[in-house]
């Protein structure tokens, strides 16, 4: 068991290295640089800036300077957010993004399971149709549009919740972002639960339980729920990594202090340090989550360990 986990950790190292290398060189191949704004800088100023960020050195030595920094835990400076190092931006933004992602994960998973189970039990009756419709809307409507709609509805018209912004310690400011982020996830969970629950409810052992005269609730709780959850469990790993890395739209729309939005803006600004920093971070999150899921599988199913 421990050996399997160790092997997986060791294979993750070359993956991270390859990602850093490929990313580093692809970024430099892209036309335009961090200082190619709307205005041409005087050549002397450009020279000074490039020297300031080591950009005047040969690419290969820049690569090793960067790699050396990464091993020391230093992701270098951000060339656009100049008052912060990349490491500091990550240390400020990551806890928030993780908190947001986990909250959405818990809310979406729980709500999705309940909705899916209710829909399955009420199959082809109005609660089923209603829930399926809500789920589809949650999955189909893009994040930014849905965010705008809930802002208008709950914030502008009803005035129940703040429309956007962030206030340390204020839960009210997080309700809408978590709702928006959890909708697609909850929707997918609900569909999975509904599908597998309907299947389980049609199996022979449930029919047997019913013929024994057991009540619906008891059947659901004791016989149907557990097997119906299996496909959901396998979806939770990718679902969680999607939530942790997919918060950029929500962070942008609600002006939240997470790390997600840098992923896009840094690439557009050619902020080399920040692009690499966030990419490494995401690779790390995805690898870690996959590792945890795989180790869990190995623990559940001994066959996996020896493959």
């Amino acid at each position: 068991m421990f050996g399997y986990a160790l092997r997986r950790v060791l294979t993750a190292i070359p993956i991270v290295l390859i990602t850093i290398t490929v990313c580093f060189f692809i970024l430099r191949l892209a036309p335009g640089g961090p200082f190619d704004g709307e205005r041409a800088l005087p050549p002397d100023v450009m020279k000074n800036l490039r020297a300031h960020y080591n950009l005047d050195q040969p690419l290969i030595s820049q690569y090793f300077i960067y790699l050396g920094g990464v091993f020391r835990g230093d992701f270098g400076p951000s060339m656009v957010m100049e008052d912060f190092s990349v490491s500091r931006l990550i240390s400020i933004g990551l806890p928030f993004t993780l908190m947001l992602g986990f909250s959405a994960f818990v809310v979406g998973t729980v709500a999705g399971m309940i909705a899916g189970a209710v829909a399955a039990v009420q199959q082809n009756k109005w609660p089923d149709y209603l829930l399926v419709a809500i789920v589809l809307i949650g999955i189909i409507i893009p994040n930014f549009l849905m965010a705008n709609l809930v802002q208008l509805f709950f914030g502008v018209y009803l005035r129940w919740l703040p429309v956007g912004g962030y206030q340390p310690g204020s839960i009210a400011h997080l309700v809408l972002p978590v709702l928006i982020l959890s909708l697609p996830h909850g929707g997918r969970v609900a569909r999975l639960v509904r599908g597998s629950m309907i299947e389980v409810l049609g199996t022979n052992y449930v029919r047997t339980a019913r013929s024994k005269g057991l009540g619906t609730r008891l059947i659901l709780a004791r016989h149907a729920l557990k097997p119906a959850l299996l496909p959901v469990v396998s979806y939770l790993g990718p679902g969680l990594s999607y939530l942790l890395t997919g918060s950029l739209v929500v962070e942008q729309v609600f002006a939240l202090p997470g790390i997600g939005k840098y992923f896009i803006s840094a690439a557009l600004n050619r902020d080399y340090g920040l692009v690499l920093g966030t990419t490494i971070l995401y690779v790390f999150i995805i690898l870690a989550l996959n590792l945890i899921v795989d180790v869990l599988y190995a623990w559940l199913d001994p066959k996996v360990r020896y493959r």
């Binding site: 961090p34 041409a40 800088l41 005087p42 800036l49 429309v163």
Partner: protein, 537 residues
């Protein structure tokens, strides 16, 4: 309950009530500030969203009034030598930093030395290049910083010597590159000096919180000389990169001022929030550059045909929806020290049909007709509005025998191509750094050779005319403002008569201001300092 407990409870309740009432009395301005500030270091900042914050944390020798005119700031008075070269500033006796230390002339000596130090790599250092030896120090040609034309005569007297007389120098000093700094603070905290716990400013507000990606918060500075006149106690600058979401926040009363809004919501705002959307002329020009370093756009008649056939009157009102005014010249109306009639070509008054006929004739002379069209590539940076305009102009050019291929790229790639001269027609824009005609006209000066390489700077179209250059040169040496303005007018006419570029519209500023706010005055620089505003509940 014991009496002490009762007393405790009463005092606690009293203290709480007092805190709540004083909290209720504090007036907070919630400002939708646009993008995330990249830096609060006056030598590293580069955007108007940074200026809106930095300009409250610091104050220069010269500051801005509600109309953004230059007024006395940290300097209470100044004298200018007859040759226009030496400025002597007398600092206010009551000018203090936010940690209580008095502001001294040495703070500016330190600031300018740091600004021009090549190691600082300040992007906007060139705005203060009128100062003697500044550009040489920045290019590392002079390493002895004491040769810089900025000297502290005594604690409260500062002398600045210029390379040449520069009528817009006071204007330039209102820019954040003219702010003082605290060398000791920067040396003490290094890269961390702009963080809320460390930063020391001399402006009306001091920074107390910075949550990157979300907001910054400032409170009234107790040491600011004008603190008693400040009506706003606290400021929150919110990140409003998402304009639609920001407008929602404004509608819910969470933001008092928006510094931009989605153009397609202008009509909605006018109908539902009358008087709150402020659209005002702004010192800037939106234009197309024409690459004149290679055929076919080196032909002035083709450039003329392209310019004539652009129906500018529909761009602002119909294509954009915010009523930008059509541009035919190169210097925005309202630019300081630029009296006289604005440049207007006679064809601007012609009916559009006549302009199209003339353009067709010119194209036919050059050998192009709708059957045998001239093929051009039009590049723009990816943006909905740029796209709309490009599509409209493509259509206008089609009728005169020009077939346009549209090509869009993200900003960094777009400007990289423009600078490399790798384009035919390209979209560009210029917002003036300070209100002076030379600031836009310099864009059309012939490039300079440096280390064997031709550097065209922001003259992407590579327009080059020795007469134009000579007029600009004469103007830069002219001390008489009226004569100087006349020379600059001649230069503008020269370049525009040769269709050095296609001006399309003058920019407008787009603010949304709540009726609770008074003292927000639209101005051509779109600079609105909070010290002039007040807010009622």
């Amino acid at each position: 309950m014991k009496i002490t407990q009762v007393l405790k409870a009463v005092t606690t309740a009293g203290a709480l009530a007092l805190m709540m009432s004083s909290a209720a009395l504090a007036v907070t301005l919630n400002l939708g500030n646009g993008s995330e500030p990249g830096s609060l270091d006056p030598h590293k900042a580069s955007g108007d969203w940074e200026n809106r914050i930095i300009g409250e944390l610091y104050e220069g020798l010269v500051a801005e009034d509600a109309q953004a005119n230059a007024i006395a700031g940290q300097a209470e008075s100044w004298t200018i030598s007859d040759d226009g070269l030496v400025y002597t500033f007398k600092l206010r006796a009551d000018a203090n930093w936010s940690d209580g230390v008095p502001v001294t002339a040495q703070n500016w000596v330190d600031a300018f030395q740091r600004l021009f130090d090549p190691k600082t790599a300040a992007e906007y250092a060139y705005l203060q290049f009128p100062i003697k030896n500044a550009s040489k120090i920045n290019a590392a040609e002079i390493t002895d910083f004491s040769q810089l034309g900025v000297k502290a005569i005594d604690d409260k007297t500062l002398e600045i010597t210029l390379e040449a007389s520069t009528p817009f120098f006071l204007q330039a000093l209102t820019h954040y590159t003219g702010y003082p700094i605290r060398k000791d603070i920067i040396e003490k905290f290094g890269d961390q000096w702009t963080q809320p716990d460390n930063i020391v400013g001399n402006g009306p507000y001091k920074l107390v919180e910075w949550v990157p990606g979300s907001y910054l918060r400032g409170v009234k500075s107790d040491t600011y000389y004008g603190k008693d006149n400040l009506k706003i106690d606290e400021v929150r600058w919110d990140n409003t990169e998402d304009l639609t979401a920001a407008l929602n926040r404004y509608r819910a009363g969470e933001l008092d001022i928006l510094t931009d809004f989605p153009a397609d919501q202008y009509k909605f705002l006018q109908d539902n929030y009358p008087g709150q959307a402020h659209v005002a002329p702004f010192l800037g020009i939106y234009y197309y550059v024409l690459n004149q370093s290679k055929p076919p756009l080196d032909n002035v008649n083709i450039r003329k045909a392209l310019s004539l056939s652009v129906l500018r009157d529909v761009i602002g009102p119909d294509v954009l929806g915010t009523g930008e005014l059509p541009a035919y010249g190169w210097v925005p109306n309202g630019t300081a020290n630029y009296e006289g009639t604005p440049y207007a070509p006679d064809w601007a008054e012609w009916p559009y049909d006549q302009r199209v006929e003339e353009a067709k004739k010119l194209m036919a002379e050059a050998g192009y007709t709708p059957e045998n069209p001239l093929k051009l590539q039009l590049r723009y940076n990816t943006n909905e509005n740029h796209q709309r305009i490009a599509v409209a102009i493509t259509d206008m050019w089609k009728q005169i025998g020009v077939q346009v291929e549209l090509f869009n790229a993200e900003t960094a790639v777009h400007y990289d191509a423009l600078r490399a001269g790798d384009f035919q027609v390209g979209r560009a824009g210029w917002l003036m750094d300070y209100s002076d005609a030379s600031n836009t006209l310099d864009l059309l000066k012939t490039g300079t050779t440096q280390e064997g390489v031709m550097n065209w700077g922001n003259n992407y179209g590579r327009y080059s005319n020795p007469d134009f250059d000579s007029l600009m040169d004469q103007a830069s040496k002219e001390l008489d403002l009226v004569k100087r303005s006349d020379l600059l007018h001649q230069a503008e006419a020269k370049a525009m008569d040769e269709f050095a570029a296609i001006p399309i519209y003058w920019y407008v500023s787009k603010n949304v201001v709540s009726p609770k706010i008074t003292g927000f005055e639209d101005n051509a620089k779109d600079i609105n300092r909070i010290r002039w505003m007040s807010k009622s509940e």
